[in-house]
């Protein structure tokens, strides 16, 4: 399974959200999309999910143009987690996770079944509560569980996650990271937009740097995520460490602040 974006341009009125972006998504690896706010990360993900119309360019999976793919076929290949989850109506968490099986014949065929997916994201205790009563982080994890029910990595499935770590505590970050690695190891592709550089370093294998709607760099994460690149991206100083580049500390008596990259 390869997903390819070629020269994609997306405009909302006078604002250009993506300009001539080209990206190749590999299976079996976790790809992090990193960039500052309003860089176009969400738009890029929505384009890859086939949810956003392009003013120019093409997005294709295994050579087939996504725009011409019927909704259910696309749903079986691509799972999407939006930045904000939630459901209108008093549906139970278990039921919402079950929505992932909508496009599947007899509701089976994803990475996990409904119960296994709920276990994997750590929501077993809350599975029978209405989703809207859970915290934002829990709702996000429920959305991830739904996507796991929806796509099968062994059949070339792809997970597209918009800021999956932003509302999670470290234990949950670890849990999610493990799930993503397992998904990639099973042959699927994972693309996650985030701006936590440290998490990207520990979880992702590839990275795509995005700024102002344009792809700055893409490739193996060790080479793409250099302190210099990050500094020009985010405008703050980054220093190298054994956990990847980290923002230079502001503590006055921290020796590394005086160090050079």
């Amino acid at each position: 399974m390869t997903m390819r974006l070629q020269a994609a341009t997306v405009r909302f009125g006078a604002v250009t959200a993506l300009e001539d972006a080209s990206v190749d998504i590999q299976p079996g690896v976790v790809t992090a999309v990193i960039g500052p706010n309003a860089a176009g990360k969400s738009t890029l993900l929505r384009v890859l999910a086939g949810l956003q119309r392009l003013q120019a360019g093409v997005v294709s999976i295994d050579g087939t143009d996504l725009a011409s793919m019927p909704a259910r076929t696309r749903a079986r290949r691509i799972g999407f987690l939006a930045q904000r989850g939630g459901v209108s109506g008093p549906f139970l968490t278990r039921e919402v996770v079950g929505f992932g099986g909508f496009a599947l014949a007899s509701g089976r065929g994803g990475f996990h079944g409904v119960d296994a997916a709920i276990d994997a994201v750590g929501l077993t205790a809350d599975a029978d509560r209405p989703l809207n009563q859970l915290s934002i982080g829990q709702q996000q994890r429920a959305g991830l569980a739904r996507a796991l029910v929806q796509v099968d990595p062994a059949a070339g499935g792809l997970l597209l996650l918009d800021e999956p770590f932003s509302a999670q505590d470290p234990r949950e970050i670890e849990r999610i990271a493990a799930i993503l690695e397992a998904f990639a190891a099973a042959g699927g592709g994972v693309v996650a937009a985030m701006h936590e550089v440290g998490v990207a370093w520990s979880v992702a294998d590839h990275a795509v740097l995005l700024a102002g709607g344009a792809v700055i760099d893409a490739g193996e994460i060790e080479s793409v995520l250099s302190p210099r690149a990050l500094e020009s991206l985010f405008g703050t100083r980054f220093v190298p460490s054994e956990h990847g580049p980290v923002p230079a500390s502001r503590r006055r008596n921290d020796a590394s602040a005086r160090g050079d990259g």
Partner: protein
């Protein structure tokens, strides 16, 4: 919601409809030999029973059509406060009736057109106006390019306001007696003797709506996710929205022609059903049908028995008097609408 509670809820609904139907058929008012009117329980004689059956069928047909229409619009607009009239159907129907009445009274050479529109108790006038309202909303949505909730609500507001302005204009142009008729019509009336063609059509619409709703139940469920997520799960949101708009509009048009613009039935029945059987549409759609039938049957029953001296209350007055507080209670109980 546990399975036991759901079964109990379903039983309450079906039992409710059955009980109300039973009461409606067997309780009524008779004229005693000395001319007084009193409430009586028992099997009435055949002619009265046939009127009550006709009335009950009309109430069940219109109630279920209104409830399904309300549910369709609530899902379409992602708004628990949507009613069948939110997109201007009742304004359109009222405008059609007012236009026909004006043609009859003051149309000069076109009076024949007014007469034609008022045949079969105003069916062409009201139905034409209602369908026109839906068509305008649909065309506006297509022109703008999207059927998303905000766009549709705006279109509905525009259409409602335009038709309401037209109604006001015609009311000004028309003598007093005719104006009174529109006010009466707006309060709603369950016809005791309706044309079988009209009854059958509304019944058929309800059945088709019920069938479509049950068939698309899982799509309707998944459509409750956010717009992007619903599409990503595989729901053809555009087709679904198209279908909901047309189905909801036709159901509302059918009921407004049969019983007039009755308030609160379409708004409350889906909530009542959701309270009893939960939000999954596989159960919610049939429960909504039952809830709508029960609500309108109940309102008609109350209307039959209460006589405040000025003739019986119109059914729309009963639903409004009960519906307002009931809605408030629902709102408070839930602590806000989720």
């Amino acid at each position: 919601m546990s399975p036991r509670r759901r079964i109990l809820g379903a039983a309450i609904l079906i039992g409710g409809v059955g009980l109300l139907l039973f009461l409606r058929l067997f309780v009524g008012r008779t004229i005693t030999p000395d001319g007084a009117v009193e409430i009586v329980f028992g099997l009435p004689d055949a002619s009265v029973l046939s009127i009550r059956i006709g009335s009950s069928i009309a109430a069940i047909a219109a109630g279920s059509a209104l409830a399904l229409s309300g549910l369709a619009f609530q899902v379409l607009l992602r708004n628990p406060l949507a009613s069948p009239w939110v997109l201007g159907v009742s304004s359109g129907a009222g405008f059609g009736l007012m236009l026909a009445a004006w043609l009859v009274v003051a149309g000069g050479g076109f009076a024949w057109l007014g007469d034609l529109l008022m045949r079969w108790s105003g069916l062409p006038a009201a139905g034409g106006g209602a369908l026109l309202a839906i068509a305008v909303v649909w065309l506006l949505g297509r022109r703008i390019g999207t059927f998303d909730p905000v766009t549709l609500v705006l279109c509905g507001v525009i259409v409602s306001a335009t038709f309401a302005a037209g109604i006001m204009l015609l009311q000004h142009l028309v003598p007093n007696g005719v104006r009174g008729d529109l006010v009466t019509w707006m309060m709603g009336r369950i016809p005791e003797v309706a044309s079988p063609w009209l009854l059958g059509s509304v019944c058929g619409l309800s059945v088709i709506g019920f069938g479509l709703g049950s068939w698309q139940a899982s799509g309707l469920d998944a459509a409750c996710l956010g717009e992007d997520e619903a599409r990503s799960v595989g729901v053809s949101l555009d087709h679904l929205r198209n279908g909901l708009l047309i189905a909801g509009g036709l159901l509302a048009a059918g009921s407004v022609v049969l019983v007039g613009p009755i308030a609160f039935v379409g708004l409350l029945s889906p909530h009542l059903a959701r309270l009893l059987v939960g939000p999954r549409h596989g159960r919610l759609v049939p429960a909504t049908v039952a809830a709508g039938a029960a609500v309108l049957l109940g309102a008609d029953l109350v209307r039959q028995l209460v006589d405040l001296g000025g003739g019986r209350l119109p059914v729309g007055v009963v639903t409004s008097l009960v519906g307002g507080p009931a809605f408030l209670w629902l709102l408070l109980r839930r602590g806000g609408v989720s």
